[in-house]
């Protein structure tokens, strides 16, 4: 409804994100009063019903939090439980975990780049509509995504909710022969991965800078995905076990997702932009070269360029997966034994959308007495709102349709995984 002082925009549901939520923009007398991201996807209570399950069960159960990034849940869960039980999984088994994670990064990022986000920049409703004009490009994206899924399938048993992951390692490790078709596939799509960086690097995007504090996992020896310290752009550097000392979740009325903040109440951002800025020098050489070629660097703070950073991370993951398979020697045992003991364990890994923290408390028989899961989208919600606020403020003169589009695109910059955070987007702009 619109009159001279009031404009109301409604979008029933934001498309091309995972899960369901709403957005409300309030404008009075031409001035922006507030922006709220409302996540009303129904709660599913994972933390509640993990209690009373055995220490072996979280990899299967938490995988069900998200169909798009189940590996992330499995990896953070395994890391946390192994930590509680005093076990470190290293060597070839850790390499296999990274390989599995590379598969998830490739499939999830490529899904986002080609099917969810690129249509925004090129003016289509979705990849299927885009395919009418850019069939070959979409087919290339699907081929790249397929190789990511192929890694997860061979190593995990299936692409969605892998079944071959267990605390301590795997049920069965692949033979070199089984990985050969995966390697062939990776070598085949490597050029597509490079081409994707160039393609998205040439998209027109607004010139914006945001000053979110960036938070990611970091290791000195690699572009961190599993294991390492939690670091930030303001100099934070803490072990995973101190995560809840520095970051806290709060519950706000508008959302079924908890919002996370730094313990001093400030917002922060996790995800590809944070990883890229904090781990730039540990990217594969060709991924870094591709980033340089399209002019995206570690100081980049424009969230619209996250699509470029995702493409760079895909290329990195392809390179890393190739290296891991070429160096692969099957371990003697598919898993190290993990004997339960009473204690608390912390686990962090880098989901495609950002840092994913798990904490489990076990009793002396290994039954879970308490579980805490902090998904990336909960952590990013305050930053997504901050982006929206500035973007709306700068674009108040746009008509409703144009403003809605730019807001939706801004939300998709962060690839929110709304089911993860618990969650549906319904945009309302109230200019009353």
């Amino acid at each position: 409804m619109s009159d001279d002082t009031t404009r109301t925009i409604k979008v029933e549901a934001l498309a091309r994100v995972e899960g369901e939520g709403a957005m409300h923009v309030e404008i009075r007398d031409g001035a922006l009063v507030g922006v709220e991201l409302q996540i009303y996807e129904p709660p599913r209570f994972f933390e509640a019903f993990l209690r009373g399950r055995r220490h072996t069960e979280p990899p299967d159960i938490t995988a069900r939090i998200c169909g798009i990034c189940p590996v992330a849940y499995q990896m953070s869960a395994c890391e946390a439980i192994e930590d509680a039980c005093g076990v470190v999984v290293d060597g070839p088994l850790r390499a296999l975990r990274r390989l599995l994670y590379c598969g998830e990064w490739i499939e999830s990022h490529t899904l986002h780049v080609y099917m969810l986000h690129a249509p925004d920049f090129l003016g289509y409703h979705g990849a299927i509509e885009m395919a009418a004009d850019h069939r070959e490009r979409v087919e290339q994206g699907l081929a790249l995504k397929k190789v990511g899924n192929q890694i997860v399938e061979v190593l995990g048993g299936r692409a969605i909710h892998p079944l071959n992951v267990r605390v301590g390692g795997f049920y069965r490790v692949p033979t070199r022969r089984e990985l050969q078709p995966v390697l062939d596939g990776l070598l085949r799509v490597r050029e597509i991965a490079e081409g994707t960086v160039r393609w998205v690097g040439a998209f027109d995007m607004p010139d914006l800078t945001y000053d979110h504090e960036l938070v990611a996992l970091s290791r000195p020896d690699e572009y961190a995905v599993v294991g390492g310290n939690v670091v930030s752009s303001s100099g934070l550097d803490i072990p995973v076990s101190a995560f809840l000392d520095e970051f806290a979740e709060e519950h706000v009325a508008r959302s079924n997702a908890l919002h996370a903040y730094r313990s001093d109440g400030t917002r922060y951002l996790v995800g590809p932009m944070a990883r890229f800025a904090l781990g730039y020098d540990r990217l594969s050489e060709s991924a870094r070269a591709a980033a340089v070629e399209v002019g995206v660097g570690p100081d980049d703070r424009n969230p619209f360029r996250s699509i470029v950073v995702r493409a760079v991370e895909v290329l990195h993951a392809v390179d890393e997966a190739i290296g891991l398979i070429e160096a692969y020697e099957p371990p003697d045992q598919p898993a190290v034994p993990v004997e339960p003991r009473a204690g608390v364990g912390h686990g962090v890994s880098e989901a495609p959308r950002g840092l994913l923290y798990h904490r489990y408390t076990l009793d002396d028989e290994g039954f879970i007495t308490d579980a805490v899961i902090v998904p990336p989208t909960s952590q990013n919600q305050p930053s997504i709102e901050a982006d929206l606020f500035r973007l709306v403020e700068q674009n108040l003169d746009l008509d409703d349709d144009a403003l809605r589009h730019v807001c939706e695109q801004s939300i998709r910059n962060h690839d929110p995984c709304i089911s993860c955070a618990t969650h549906f987007l319904d945009l309302t702009v109230d200019r009353g």
């Binding site: 498309a15 995972e18 209570f45 509640a48 019903f49 055995r54 979705g126 397929k146 069965r172 908890l258």
Partner: protein, 267 residues
């Protein structure tokens, strides 16, 4: 179904779920564009912001009913759909979130949320068929992509889809696996679980954990002695049955006998 020459109109709906079953369609990389060419996508939020009003020839419904609003919305989806197919364990059995059905949901809310009064949820998570008539149920957590294509392809061709109601054991034998329960003493729900995955878990040297739910003539009681023989006590057996299809009979009743209290073990 539709006007002569018109493509059938497909809609994909989501209720309480992880999005994994609708992602199964997007993960059919080799067939996706062909399927998209053969149908008119009327509603599929995960894939497109374009929306066409119903009625829809085929609706795929993912997720379970967990809020008062869901109860109303599924009626609207049913009214707008000629054929309604539920996809996945959430839509066909209430899903993992069905674990609340055995517990005190207010207590669950208080564990997860600091301000429980903000949360509007039902005490139960239930299958779509508990609320509206369903034409076909596709099981699995997640569903199997080949099965989904079979169903969509059959509908496009105007024939009945071929979906087995047998147990995982049949697929396991076809895959040439050694029985992990008999040969390795690994607890396995294959004999009482619905086929459809291709016996993945035994192929990866682990026991089936029942993610496709009970098979058509599933008798978990008959499996109990074998599970006990490989060292599973009553409560372990109860939890084994109580995962992603916990609210589906007969997993529900067989687990409840073993776990009379909420899904947790006795102190």
């Amino acid at each position: 179904m539709t006007a002569p020459g018109a493509k059938p109109r497909l809609a994909v709906w989501k209720f309480s779920s992880c999005d994994g079953c609708q992602l199964t369609l997007l993960d059919r990389e080799d067939e996706l564009l062909a399927v998209a060419d053969a149908v008119d996508i009327g509603y599929f939020l995960e894939a497109t912001s374009a929306q066409v009003e119903g009625p829809y020839d085929v609706s795929l419904v993912e997720g379970s009913i967990t809020t008062p609003h869901d109860v109303e919305r599924i009626q609207e989806v049913r009214a707008a759909s000629k054929v309604l197919i539920t996809i996945g364990a959430c839509a066909t059995a209430g899903g993992i979130q069905g674990l609340r059905n055995f517990a005190d949901v207010d207590e669950f809310v208080s564990v997860v949320y600091a301000s429980p009064s903000f949360i509007d949820t039902l005490a139960t998570s239930t299958a779509i068929a508990d609320h509206v008539p369903v034409d076909l149920e596709l099981r699995g957590c997640p569903i199997d992509g080949r099965q989904l294509l079979e169903v969509v392809g059959a509908l496009l061709a105007g024939r009945k889809p071929v979906v087995s109601g047998q147990s995982v054991c049949v697929e396991c034998k076809a895959a040439g696996n050694v029985c992990v329960l008999v040969a390795h003493g690994t607890p396995c729900l294959g004999p009482v679980t619905h086929a459809g995955c291709g016996a993945l878990c035994p192929s990866y040297h682990r026991g089936c954990y029942g993610c496709f739910g009970p098979s058509e003539s599933s008798m978990p009681e008959s499996l109990a002695p074998a599970l006990a023989a490989v060292g599973m006590d009553e409560s372990d057996q109860g939890r084994f049955l109580r995962t992603f299809n916990a609210w589906a009979e007969p997993f529900r009743s067989a687990s409840t006998v073993r776990l009379p209290d909420p899904h947790r073990r006795q102190p």
